[in-house]
Symmetry: C2
Subunit: 244 residues, 2 copies
DNA sequence: GCAAAAGTGTTAATGCTACACCCATGT
DNA sequence: ACATGGGTGTAGCATTAACACTTTTGC
């Protein structure tokens, strides 16, 4: 039998379809450590466990639109850096029915969380403890405060691990780090972001020069205030050509 | 209203669900140029245009399983390097109904195509003309022979562009190039792959050393045959630890 | 012996790291 | 004045690119 002809005659409505959801890995760097936004589940399955904010994709809604809607409705944030990460499609990843989930990756500066976390008691920022596993896969542990690792629902631990690896991988060749900083920032703050994500100490002069030579930074002429020592210059991110 | 509670009460069966398909970007390097496997469509929509091989995801089948099934059934290949690329979810990407497509990226050495292409007349290997657009996005042109660019169905041009960029991006830090070569190969053949994909000329001694220092290559002790000049040593790819 | 491509050694350039030092501000 | 972190200059190191050269095969 001819496969192409079969496909053309195939009526998708006649077959059972999976549900499609979007899950959001909303990350930040808080007090020198990577963190994720989680919601506590109060129903089965995985009642009591922590999950990534997510929701079903509407029939008239693109995946990107769904991700932005969930960012606003479920994570109570607006206007973050958002990019698609990976689609998880194991048959039994949700014990209820077949659900395919498109994971999206979002970044925000730490100060954008404080208000939202107060008004939404089901949300929490969990600190990530990343076993420095290099390239290889595997999930990641999340903790709140200095407590024990949280139990994560579904395959959300895998999603988190993948998000962390993507963040590390893209950090050095894209302007992704600037999504974790306010509009104006010092070079020290930028370096802190790098050190938190890569989990290493970096050499200060080398880091400064590498960043400045890249042409992404624009000095504002303004200075930091409130420090009891020499105030640092504030920089702004000047996007590369291709970026939005 | 509480969003989390809403989600838990939400019955996915009560809402209209999208269909989910997998599309396969099966690439190779043929005669020093990147190429993709395409099928010619004979029905609406996009009748007469060329499309990537694809199919619906079964309800009891994971995404990866669907990709491998399509590799065998539609592309008539077996056992390629396959990895997930991106999920395309624009509402109107298919004029018939809402279809979300998970694009998979597959690689095979050129010699694996000859038999399959003869037995399947709807398939063709199209050469890619890649406008060297660096990081930035956009579709890619495909040609058969030296002809005009082919008209591609749906958003398959976008998929192709993304696949090409992924290939370029991963080429130098992963063993992805070896999926495009037979089990034993010469260093010149490996360099030809690099030059075809990156669309540049590379320095021979530097390339040799870079590859050998990486520890991925294992000399077999055997030599190329049939050349009218000094025969080159044949190497084998020794996978890095983490890889399957 | 000659042509053609494989393979190797040496040098130059580049980028990164480390260290030492100076600068500006609040207390 | 001094403590503290911001910012800059210079030297050393390692990696990479470029070129010239030698080696090995078939004709």
């Amino acid at each position: 039998m001819d496969e192409v002809a079969f496909l053309e005659n195939y009526d998708p409505a006649a077959y059972e379809r999976p549900s499609v959801t979007v899950d959001l890995i909303l990350m930040s760097v808080v007090d020198g450590a990577p963190a994720v936004l989680l919601t506590r589940r109060d129903r089965h399955p995985f009642a009591g466990a922590w999950a990534l904010p997510g929701g079903f994709v509407g029939i008239g809604e693109s995946l990107d639109e769904a991700a932005h809607r969930i960012l606003i409705e479920k994570a109570r944030m607006s206007d973050a850096y958002v990019e698609q990460l990976y689609t998880f499609g194991a048959v039994d990843r949700d014990p209820r029915t077949r659900i395919i989930s498109v994971a999206y990756f979002a970044l925000l500066p730490a100060d954008r969380f404080t208000a939202a976390l107060k008004s939404a008691p089901e949300l929490a920022l969990a600190e990530l403890t990343v076993p420095w596993s290099g390239e290889t896969g595997g999930p990641v542990e999340a903790c709140i405060g200095n407590g024990n690792p949280l139990q994560l629902a579904f395959d959300h631990g895998e999603m988190l691990g993948l998000a962390m690896r993507r963040l590390r991988g893209k950090l050095d060749y894209s302007g992704i780090a600037f999504a974790l900083l306010p509009e104006r920032f010092t070079l020290r703050a930028l370096q802190d972001i790098y050190e938190a994500i890569l989990d290493t100490k970096l050499n200060k002069p080398a880091f400064r020069r590498r960043m400045l030579d890249r042409g992404w930074l624009e000095a504002t002429g303004e200075r930091e205030t409130g420090a009891s020592f020499r105030p640092a210059e504030l920089y702004r991110y000047r996007k590369a050509e291709g970026e939005r």
